[in-house]
Structures are given as structure tokens and as C-alpha cells.
Amino acid sequence: MQFHGEVGPGGAFQAGVVLAVAIILNALIFGLANTMRAVPPVFARTLAAVGVLIYVGVGFWAMFQGGLFLEYQALFGEPPGGHDGQHAGIILVELGVLFAVAGAMTTIFYALAGRVAEIRDEDW
């Protein structure tokens, strides 16, 4: 789905959600604690932050190359008519969206499913 993104329907958002659903299936079968050991919550929320950073980073990279913010044309400093910058920029940006969505969805699931129903004695 992710690499469909540039040439066909579908895209990064949906791919991110599917990734999160895969993690949820793991949590359903092997239990939440095992899944949290495999994909720690810290990793999930770091992934979300890294996704946003990739997106913004592509924008700033274009700025440092002398273009405007998020102007993919300027990524490799190619003349007008060349399309490599557009392709690379879109793929990178979609990768950022994928990471952000997958991380955020996993964080939400952990937050809801990981709640302890009542406070036990040992917690005090």
C-alpha cells in the first residue's frame, strides 16, 4: 500500500493504520505484556515523533537547497522539467506520514488497552 502511494490509489495513512492493526493482532494473541516487550510504548511514540520530523525535515532540506519550504523541485537542485525531486520528495513525505500514523495509533491503543482496571494494593 505504501509504495502503491505514488502511482495508484491508497497511501501512507492507510498503510500506517494497517501496520497498527498488525500490532493489535499481536497484542490480542500473545498478550499485551509480550507485545509491549516487542514494540515498547517508548518506541511507538518515538516513531510518531520521527514521522513528523521526517516530514518537516524534507521541507527544511528543500529550504537549505535554496528552494521554498517543501518545494520538492529544489531537493536535488535540478532544472525545471526534471522529476526526480518530486518522486523522492513524495516518497519521503509519505514515509513520514506512515511512521506518524502507525506510531500515534499504536500509542492510542496502548493507552486504552493498557489501563489497569482498578488500583491494586501494591501500587500504593
Binding site: M1, H4, G10, V18, V21, I24, L25, A27, L28, I29, F30, G31, L32, A33, N34, A113, G114, A117
Partner: protein, 98 residues
């Protein structure tokens, strides 16, 4: 022909919906929803053929998996009231499995 098959499945979906709404026990509802999901996969596949663009089968593929995840999630939640209990235990080769 495909349109007739599609309409047949849609009629089946309506009948299943009646069972999902009536369902005396909760399990009847889950059964109806699960069968409904299978039929939706088939409907999506056939819709592509009826509209002359059978390239949308990716969605049907994802549905097949998501329908399974949903059924398992509902059943597990209903049985354990929690997401935290594992359904299957990983066999530990060091202990020889227990």
C-alpha cells in the same frame, strides 16, 4: 450474471442483518457480523467486475484480514474482559515448553 450474483449476496446480507438485530444471544450477533464481513469481501470483489475495473481487490484482501482481527478481538474481550491476557503461550525452547 455478475450483477445477479451481486444482488443475491446483497439479499443474503439483509437476511444476516435481521439475525444480527434479533440475535437472542451475543454469540448469534457475533456470528452474523462475521458472516456479514465475509460477504462484504465478496461484494467488493464482485463490484469491481460489475463496474469493469477489477483492480480493487486489495481492499477485499485487507478486509479478509481485518474481519478476522475484529472477530478475535470481540471474542477475547468478551471472555477475559481485558486485552492483557495472552491467548497463546510462546513455547520457550529452554524450558521445553509447558
Amino acid at each position: 450474471m455478475t450483477a445477479a450474483a451481486l444482488i443475491a449476496i446483497l439479499i443474503g446480507m439483509v437476511l444476516l442483518l435481521v439475525r444480527a438485530l434479533m440475535g437472542p444471544t451475543l454469540y448469534d450477533r457475533i456470528l452474523a457480523v462475521n458472516a456479514f464481513g465475509t460477504k462484504t469481501v465478496l461484494v467488493i470483489g464482485l463490484l469491481g467486475y460489475v463496474m469493469g475495473r477489477p483492480d480493487f481487490l486489495d481492499i477485499a484482501m485487507i478486509y479478509t484480514l481485518i474481519n478476522f482481527v475484529t472477530t478475535i478481538a470481540i471474542l477475547k474481550f468478551f471472555r477475559y474482559r481485558s486485552f492483557q491476557v495472552p491467548l497463546a503461550r510462546r513455547v520457550d525452547p529452554a524450558k521445553g515448553g509447558e
